[in-house]
């Protein structure tokens, strides 16, 4: 699985970076920087939580190929 950011929806609240710091950093404007190509299996629950908590509904967990 990998994370997909809908940049037209994201407004840089930063919750995802707090919930999933192993995968998501922030740029100088507070927008997420997703590291690597996929989410390691052990971080999948935290990734799902980050997706669910995104106030802008801008984050999705999608199959790695998509």
């Amino acid at each position: 699985m990998r994370l997909h950011v809908d940049w037209t929806a994201c407004d840089g609240r930063g919750l995802c970076a707090e919930l999933l710091p192993e995968v998501i950093g922030e740029d100088e404007w507070g927008y997420p920087v997703v590291r690597g190509d996929g989410v390691p299996e052990k971080l999948a629950p935290a990734a799902r939580q980050a997706v669910d908590r995104c106030p802008a509904l801008a984050l999705r967990l999608v199959p790695a190929t998509k």
Binding site: H4, W7, T8, C10, W29, G30
Partner: protein, 431 residues
């Protein structure tokens, strides 16, 4: 005009010809000839047409097809030129793709200027509008005005505009070939691509492949401007040499320093006449033929300064939807402007700017102010920002802007060092 049925040799699109009627092809045949011909999208991305046709055709739902003539790139005039010269081929191609994907609705999306009721004939899309009214096409064509914005021609922006919304790109998790206009599978194709398809339907894939290279077959339309004697729109086979291309535009009007290929989202290449204009040959420079925009930069202009001007224009053309683009592009442009050592007047390369006949209109002439040093970290900062914004938008506007700036740092690296020492190799004063 000659009512001939023999295939055109040399120029294909920009010729005065009356073509025979389109042969009756079934959907599978249309996709097959597009595949055998190796026809790729001429809007810039170069994606194989047949794969998009197949994706939309296999959806099994009523599809929408759109001919895209938006051409938001200020230095590109090839779609407008084609529209004036051969609206018949564009409308033929639109009918072919409509048949290939089983579309019930077809749209023509083109420059808004003048495309209002009563004045259609005087607009850029006028020839197509007038011709469409006289033809009895199986799939009716509806005209839609495109705003004059850089990103208005991006395919998801096109679908959004045709659906009646603002012409801004949307998120790509769901592709428009799955769900575009009114949630219908949607095919957006550049008008030049459609015109090529109309000729392939008549003369076959083997004829199409008789120009260009096996990997990049066919011809393309190029808009050649900047420091050339006779700027304009010309047709060339892929892998044409840069020397032949520039000579066709009258040759350089001054000694050249570099050439921008692929437009404002393209890359700078050396003015080597032997260089071939193909994806393969330009890849080492981080450039590609794109939508055929070629701009010659004279030795007396500063490549960093000109790139900074273009970057400022591109930053202002952000659709304003995505954080990294809204924030990153202006910062990137400002940083390069500081490195180039001159404030960049916003939009100085807007339509008519860099494409003025006979010279490099963006050049501001030799400055007389005293030189000052740029801060040493500026080039590295431009590079960091370029990598930071890449891949982080709904469309490729940040990626294309980043590509241009990275190519400028490479192409003008001697000048980067000179600017950091308070000099400029073009002779323009740094500050």
């Amino acid at each position: 005009m000659n009512g001939i049925a023999a295939p055109p040799t040399g120029r294909r699109l920009l010729t005065e010809r009356t073509e025979a009627a389109l042969p009756a092809l079934d959907p599978g045949q249309i996709i097959a000839i597009a595949r055998e011909a190796g026809l790729t999208g001429r809007g810039g991305a170069g994606f194989p047409l047949w794969r998009k046709l197949a994706a939309v055709a296999t959806s099994g739902r009523p599809a929408v097809v759109i001919a895209n003539a938006a051409e938001g790139e200020p230095a590109s005039h090839k779609d407008k030129t084609l529209l004036a010269a051969r609206p018949d081929l564009i409308l033929d191609g639109l009918q072919l793709v409509a048949r290939a994907v089983g579309a019930r609705r077809a749209y023509f999306y083109g420059p808004a200027a003048g495309m209002t009721a009563g004045s259609a004939a005087s607009s850029a899309a006028g020839p197509a509008t007038a011709l469409a009214e006289r033809r009895d096409d199986p799939v009716p064509v509806t005209f839609r005005a495109a705003p004059a914005a850089f990103v208005a021609g991006e395919e998801s922006a096109v679908a959004a505009a045709v659906a009646g919304g603002p012409a801004v790109p949307r998120d790509k998790l769901v592709r428009i070939t799955d769900s575009g206009v009114g949630r219908a599978p949607t095919l957006v194709q550049n008008v030049e691509t459609l015109a090529h398809l109309a000729l392939i339907a008549r003369y076959g894939p083997a004829w199409f492949r008789s120009a260009g290279t096996p990997a990049e077959p066919g011809t393309f339309l190029a808009t050649v401007s900047g420091s050339v004697t006779a700027p304009g729109v010309f047709e060339f086979p892929y892998a044409v040499s840069l020397g032949h291309l520039l000579a066709t535009a009258g040759g350089p009007s001054a000694p050249l320093q570099a050439v921008l290929v692929g437009g404002f989202h393209g890359g700078w290449i050396p003015p080597d006449p032997g260089l071939r204009i193909s994806r393969e040959a330009l890849a080492p420079f981080g450039a590609s033929p794109g939508a055929g925009v070629v701009i010659a930069l004279p030795a007396h202009a500063c490549g960093l300064r000109e790139t900074a001007r273009i970057a400022s224009y591109l930053a202002a053309e952000s659709a304003g939807q995505c954080g990294p683009c809204i924030n990153g592009l202006p910062r990137m442009a400002a940083t390069l402007t500081e490195l180039a050592g001159t404030p960049a007047p916003a939009r100085s390369v807007a339509p008519g700017g860099s494409t003025a006949p006979g010279g490099w209109a963006g050049t501001s002439g030799p400055g007389r102010a005293r030189a000052g040093r740029a801060r040493p970290g500026l080039a590295a900062e431009v590079e960091r920002l370029a990598r930071l914004v890449t891949g982080r938008g709904a469309c490729r506007h940040p990626d294309g802007t980043a590509r241009l700036l990275l190519s400028a740092l490479r192409a003008f690296d001697d000048d980067v060092r000179a600017h950091l020492q308070g000099r400029c190799l073009s002779g323009e004063a740094v500050r």
